[in-house]
Amino acid sequence: MKKANFTLMPFIILATLLGFLAYELFHAKPQALPSALIGQSLPNFRLPSLLEPGKNFSAAELQGRVSLLNIWATWCSACRIEHETLIIINQRDHVPLFSIDYKDNPEDAKLWLKNLGNPYEKIGEDTQGDLGIDLGIYGTPETFIIDKQGKIRYRHVGALDENTWQEVLLPLVRQYERE
């Protein structure tokens, strides 16, 4: 009896390891990393406002209502795809949309908004990417849901599409609005 169990052992181990491999290959999402900042207040930033010369965009302006904070750049191709969705979201669902132009040339950014439309209420210029590090971002685009208290509640990494917006982010926004 014992002998039979031993001969099966290597196969059981192999099967287990293959099971782990299959999981890692087909189901694991190594890119889906929860933000370390969930539940915390936004970093207390103050950035030059892109479209209002001499004025600033600061963290305090995101308090009082549930809003979205989108991180984008003109050099980011996924941001171009996402931009259309953001315009639709802004026009249809009336969720306040703020943004950070990350490590970008302000002139390029102005041209981009002129050509593609501007869904943002206010845009901060993070030329050096310092706020990017403070927000723990991995790349662009990323979208944060900020609640009424100015706390980070949710982070979406990558281009936001209509499906994800309708099924994941919008319900969360409505839920935080009721709080």
């Binding site: 990393l33 370390a36 590090i133």
Partner: protein, 147 residues
């Protein structure tokens, strides 16, 4: 007199010729030195992150070799060419320059990116299985071999 002149003339011409040659030589020397210095500048490896103390330089190296480049997940900051890796290297550099302690820098990175940013996972409840698994497998193997 004529003879004298004719004797002197070639001598003057010789002096003129030699000053010309000297100028030419100096020009060549100057060009040579110019090239020498320019190649010298290329040959010197530029230290991108200069520190005044060797201890700080060592701390910097230790940090970038144990911190993950979050974009290219299995590379450290020291190995990665990703723009975010460069930004984080610069950030760690300025933090060390600002006399921040190792604990401060670790806290700074953890607060923003979580413990995932370190190549070495911390020992806590979530990672206990990870840390104990090798030991467990070792003892199980011994147990199987003995039985």
């Amino acid at each position: 007199m004529r003879e004298n002149k004719s004797l002197v003339m070639p001598a003057q011409a010789g002096i003129q010729l030699s000053t010309q040659m000297l100028r030419f030589f100096l020009l060549i020397l100057a060009l040579f030195l110019l090239f020498l210095t320019s190649t010298f500048a290329y040959a010197t490896p530029q230290d991108l992150y200069p520190f005044s103390s060797p201890a700080d330089a060592q701390r910097f190296q230790a940090f970038i070799k144990t911190t993950r480049c979050v974009v290219c997940q299995n590379q450290t900051l020291a190995e990665s060419n990703a723009p975010l890796a460069k930004d984080l290297r610069d950030k760690i550099y300025t933090l060390i320059k600002d006399q921040q302690s190792d604990a401060d820098i670790t806290a700074f990175l953890t607060q923003r990116y979580g413990t995932f940013i370190f190549m070495r996972p911390p020992v806590n409840y979530a990672t206990l299985a990870l840390w104990l698994a090798p030991l467990l497998i070792f003892f199980l193997t011994i147990a199987f071999l003995v039985l």
